[in-house]
C-alpha cells in the first residue's frame, strides 16, 4: 500500500471582517475514517475546503505525504475525492454523462472511466436512473451522484462533508457500509452533525469547536471520559426545565410514566437515577460543554 499521511500544521483561517474560522488547528492522519464532529460554525467546512485545496489557509500549512498542498495542490488533487456540503450539477446531463465529464476532468482514461462509472452507479443505487437528466433528480439522488463522483478516481484521500444530508435512513445505512468498506485502504474524513454516523464508521474522532481542535482520539477514549457519568431519571414533564438548568441533558423521551431524561453528570442527579452505558452522543455533548465552560472561564 502507498504511504499515506496528511498533516495539518497549526492551520488558521481568518475571513474578511476579522472572522476567525480556524485557529491553530493541528492534526495528523493516516489510513482510516476520521469522524469530524462539531457544532454549527465550528469551522468544519472551512477545514474541509482547505484540505480539498479549494481555500488556502491564512496561516499554517497542510502536508500530503510531506508535500505542502499550497505549493503543489495537484499532488493531492490527483488522489483526492471530495464531496462538498453544497454542490451543483449540470441539469441537462444525465447521471452517467455527468460522471463521464468529471472522469475526463480528473484525467481517467475512457475504458477505466466507463467501468468505474458502471460500478459506482450500481453502488449508489442509481443504475436505473443513469440516463435520466439530473435536473429531475431529487435531493437524495443528487447527493448519491455526489458520492459517486467523489469515488471516481479511486481516491487515497476521501473528504465527505455532511454526506448523508438528504439521504433517507436506508440510503444512510448503505453509505455508512460503503465508508466502512472503503476505509482500510485510504484516509477518509467524514464531517457531520450526525453523531450516529460517526459512531458507526469512524476509527478516529476529532472534535472541533470555535475553530480549534478540542479532542482527537479513538471513540473508546472519548467514551471513557463519560464512563459511569450517564444517568437516566424519570420525572414529571414540569420538572424538566429545572433539570436542564442544573444538568447536561443529552436526550429526553416522553412516556406514560413521565419524561425519561438522559443526564451526563459526575454524580447521580437524583437518588432514583439509574446508571446507563454512555453513547458517543453523550461523550460529544459532555466534551463540548466542558470546552465551552473552560472557554468562558478563560474569557473571564
Amino acid at each position: 500500500m502507498a504511504f499515506m499521511k496528511l498533516e495539518i500544521e497549526t492551520v488558521s483561517k481568518t475571513y474578511r471582517g476579522n472572522i476567525a474560522a480556524l485557529r491553530g488547528f493541528r492534526l495528523e492522519l493516516g489510513p482510516g475514517v476520521l469522524g469530524l464532529l462539531g457544532p454549527n460554525g465550528a469551522g468544519k467546512s472551512t477545514l474541509m475546503r482547505i484540505l480539498a485545496t479549494i481555500t488556502q489557509p491564512t496561516a499554517g500549512r497542510v502536508l500530503w505525504n510531506g508535500t505542502d498542498i499550497k505549493h503543489a495542490p495537484d499532488a493531492l488533487r490527483t488522489v483526492l475525492g471530495y464531496l462538498p456540503q453544497d454542490f451543483g450539477i449540470y441539469p441537462n446531463l444525465s447521471a452517467a454523462e455527468f460522471l463521464e465529464y468529471l472522469a475526463a476532468v480528473k484525467g481517467l482514461d475512457a475504458a477505466s472511466a466507463r467501468k468505474r462509472i458502471g460500478e459506482l452507479l450500481e453502488l449508489v443505487n442509481l443504475a436505473d436512473a443513469a440516463r435520466r437528466p439530473l435536473g429531475g433528480f431529487s435531493g437524495g439522488m443528487r447527493q448519491r451522484v455526489g458520492i459517486a463522483q467523489a469515488l471516481l478516481n479511486d481516491p487515497q484521500l476521501l473528504i465527505v462533508d455532511e454526506p448523508t444530508a438528504g439521504l433517507d435512513p436506508e440510503e444512510r445505512v448503505r453509505f455508512r457500509n460503503l465508508l466502512s468498506e472503503l476505509s482500510g485502504e485510504r484516509i477518509v474524513i467524514l464531517s457531520t452533525h450526525i453523531v450516529s454516523d460517526v459512531e458507526a464508521v469512524a476509527t478516529d474522532i476529532a472534535l472541533i469547536a470555535q475553530g480549534q481542535l478540542v479532542v482527537h482520539g479513538a471513540p473508546e477514549a472519548l467514551l471513557a471520559g463519560v464512563n459511569g457519568k450517564v444517568w437516566e431519571v424519570v420525572i414529571p414533564s414540569g420538572e424538566l426545565p429545572a433539570l436542564r438548568q442544573g444538568h447536561l441533558v443529552s436526550s429526553t423521551a416522553h412516556r406514560n410514566d413521565g419524561v425519561h431524561a438522559r443526564v451526563v453528570a459526575d454524580a447521580p442527579p437524583r437518588s432514583d437515577a439509574r446508571q446507563l452505558e454512555p453513547s458517543l452522543e453523550d461523550a460529544y455533548l459532555a466534551t463540548l460543554a466542558a470546552h465551552r465552560h473552560a472557554a468562558a472561564e478563560a474569557a473571564v
Partner: protein, 531 residues
C-alpha cells in the same frame, strides 16, 4: 395599506441586498463614466455636424438622454437578477410559502429595480451640474432646465427598463440567455419606435420628443441644417452652433402626462408578468420536461418521478469497486475536449441544430460575399448562448468545488473549454472558411480565424471575470449588431466589412483574443489558488 407595506418591505430588502454588494459600486462607477463621457465629448448630442452651447438646457437634455439610452440598455442587464437571486438563494421558496401575492412581490422588485437605476440617474444628474460648471460655456444656471429632463425623460424610461427586466425574469422563456440577446434588439427597436411607426407617442426614450422640440431652433440657428439628430460616440468632429438658441423642452401638461404614462405602462407590464410568474414552483418547469419525456417514449418524466421509483437494492449490498490501474489516471487531452464540447452542446433542441446546420449548408452554396457576410454573421450569432456559458457554467450551476478540487484544471480543463468554444465557431462558420480557402483569399481566411478565436476568448474572459453570462450576451450582441450586421469596418470581427484592411484587423483581433484568454487564465488561476 398593508399591501403597500409588503411592497415596500420587498423593495427595501432587495435594494439593501444589492447596494451592499461590490457590484453596485461598479454600476455607480459606470454612471460616473457615462457622465465623464458626456462631459468630455466622448458621447455627444448632435444636430447634424453641430452641438449646442453648453447651457443648462442643452446639458440637462444631453446627459439625461445619455442616461435614457445607455442606462436603459446596460441597466436592464444590471437589474435583471431580482427574482433570480431569490431563486438561487432559495429565499423565494420561503416567500412562496407565505401569503405574499405575486403582484406585491413583483411590484416590490420593480420598486427596487427602479431605485437601483434611479441612483445611477442621480449620479448623472450631479455630473450634469458639474459639466456646466467645468465647461463654463454658459455660466447662467437654470435648475429647472437642467434637472427636469432627468425627472420626465429619464426616470420614466428607467421605470420601463426596470419593468422589462422583471417581466423577462417572470417569463420562463425570457429568463435566460435568449432574453438577454432579445433585449438588445428590443431596445434598438424601442429607440426607433416613433420613427418606424410614425407615432410620436410611442417614444419610450424621449429622443423623438426632444428632437421635435429642438427642430425649429435648429432650422433657425444652424446654417444648412438638414434634420440630423443623434447621440454619437467618439466622434470629435463636432462644431459648436453658437447661433442655436434653445431654452429646453417646454414641459406642457400633455408632454408630462405622455412621459409619466410610461410609468403606468411599466406597472401594467409587471402586473402582466404575474400571469407568467411561477412563484418559485419548480413543478412548472418540470411539467414541461415531463411532456418532452413522454414524447420520447420514456417510461416516466424524469422530473416528476419520485425518488422511491428507483429500484432499491438490499441494504447489505457489498461494494464491488475495482481498484483503478496505475495508468488509468492519464487520459489524452482529446478526451476532456470531447467532454467539454458535449457539455457545451448538451440541452439544445433539434431546431437549434437544424438552424446551425442550415446556415452551414447555405454558406457552402451562397455567393462568397453572402456566405462570408450575412450568412457567417448569423451563423456566429446562432451559438451565442453556447459561448456565453464559457467560464460561467461552474458558477451558475455550483460545480466549482467539484471541479476546482480536481488536478490539472488550468492546463487541461480550461484550455479544453476554450477549444470547445473555438470548435463551435469553426464548425458553424466552416462553410465560409472553405469558400475563402477555395477562393484563395488568405487575408479573409485569416480574418475568419481571428473571429473564430476572438468570440470564445471574449466569452471566456467576461465569463470568468464576471461570473455571469449576461455581460457577454449584451456586449457581444451589441458588437455583432454594429460590426458584422451593419458592416462597420474595424468592428466587424468576421472580417467581411474590413476590405483591404482585413489582414490588419485580423491581427488586431488575434492580439485581443490573446489578451482576453490571458486575462481569463490569470483570473481562473487566482480562483484555483483560493481566497
Amino acid at each position: 395599506m398593508r399591501a403597500l407595506g409588503v411592497v415596500y418591505a420587498i423593495a427595501r430588502a432587495d435594494f439593501l441586498e444589492r447596494v451592499r454588494r461590490y457590484s453596485y459600486l461598479v454600476t455607480l462607477l459606470f454612471a460616473v463614466y457615462l457622465g465623464y463621457a458626456a462631459g468630455t465629448g466622448i458621447i455627444s448630442l448632435r444636430l447634424g455636424d453641430y452641438r449646442g452651447v453648453y447651457t443648462s438646457a442643452w446639458i440637462g437634455v444631453m446627459v439625461s438622454l445619455v442616461a435614457t439610452t445607455f442606462l436603459s440598455l446596460v441597466g436592464f442587464y444590471i437589474v435583471k437578477n431580482a427574482v433570480d437571486r431569490d431563486r438561487q438563494t432559495r429565499v423565494g421558496e420561503i416567500l412562496a410559502a407565505t401569503p405574499l401575492t405575486k403582484s406585491s412581490y413583483l411590484l416590490g422588485k420593480l420598486l427596487s429595480n427602479f431605485a437601483v437605476l434611479a441612483s445611477m440617474v442621480a449620479v448623472l444628474a450631479v455630473a450634469a451640474v458639474a459639466i456646466q460648471i467645468v465647461a463654463a460655456e454658459d455660466r447662467t444656471f437654470h435648475a429647472r432646465a437642467l434637472l427636469l429632463p432627468f425627472l420626465f425623460l429619464t426616470l420614466p424610461a428607467m421605470a420601463l427598463t426596470a419593468a422589462m427586466a422583471l417581466f423577462f425574469e417572470a417569463f420562463r422563456f425570457l429568463r435566460g440567455g435568449f432574453g438577454n440577446v432579445l433585449w438588445f434588439f428590443l431596445w434598438s427597436f424601442g429607440i426607433a419606435l416613433p420613427a418606424v411607426t410614425n407615432h410620436p407617442q410611442l417614444d419610450p426614450s424621449g429622443l423623438w420628443m426632444v428632437y421635435q422640440s429642438m427642430l425649429p431652433a435648429a432650422h433657425a440657428g444652424i446654417p444648412g441644417y438638414k434634420d440630423g439628430f443623434s447621440l454619437t460616440i467618439a466622434d470629435k468632429s463636432v462644431r459648436v452652433a453658437t447661433g442655436f438658441h434653445w431654452n429646453g423642452v417646454e414641459w406642457t401638461p400633455a408632454i408630462v402626462i405622455s412621459r409619466l404614462a410610461w410609468i403606468a405602462v411599466a406597472i401594467a407590464l409587471v402586473l402582466c408578468g404575474t400571469w407568467f410568474f411561477d412563484r418559485f414552483d419548480p413543478a412548472r418547469s418540470r411539467q414541461k420536461s415531463g411532456a418532452k419525456s413522454r414524447r420520447k417514449g420514456a417510461a416516466a418524466a424524469a422530473g416528476v418521478v419520485p425518488e422511491l421509483a428507483t429500484v432499491r437494492a438490499p441494504i447489505a449490498t457489498s461494494t464491488h469497486l475495482t481498484p483503478l490501474a496505475s495508468g488509468a489516471r492519464h487520459s489524452g487531452a482529446w478526451r476532456i475536449l470531447v467532454a467539454e464540447l458535449r457539455l457545451a452542446l448538451k440541452g439544445y433542441r433539434w431546431w437549434w441544430y437544424a438552424g446551425a446546420g442550415g446556415l452551414l449548408i447555405a454558406q457552402f452554396f451562397a455567393p462568397l460575399d453572402v456566405a462570408r457576410g450575412p450568412l457567417l454573421a448569423v451563423a456566429w450569432l446562432w451559438p451565442v448562448l453556447v459561448w456565453s456559458a464559457l467560464g460561467t457554467r461552474e458558477a451558475r450551476f455550483g460545480t466549482e468545488q467539484l471541479l476546482f478540487s480536481c488536478a490539472r484544471i488550468l492546463p487541461r480543463q480550461f484550455p479544453a473549454a476554450w477549444m470547445a468554444g473555438i470548435l463551435v465557431a469553426a464548425l458553424t462558420g466552416l462553410g465560409a472558411a472553405v469558400r475563402l480557402a477555395l477562393a484563395g483569399q488568405s487575408a479573409g481566411l485569416l480574418a475568419w480565424a481571428a473571429g473564430a478565436l476572438f468570440i470564445p476568448s471574449l466569452a471566456l474572459a467576461l465569463g470568468v471575470w464576471s461570473g455571469s453570462s449576461k455581460f457577454f450576451e449584451g456586449l457581444y450582441v451589441a458588437l455583432w449588431y454594429v460590426g458584422p450586421l451593419h458592416r462597420v469596418p474595424g468592428i466587424d470581427f468576421t472580417g467581411s466589412a474590413n476590405g483591404a484592411q482585413a489582414g490588419r484587423y485580423a491581427l488586431f483581433y488575434l492580439g485581443v483574443a490573446a489578451v482576453l484568454v490571458g486575462a481569463a487564465f490569470f483570473r481562473r488561476a487566482r480562483q484555483l489558488r483560493g481566497a
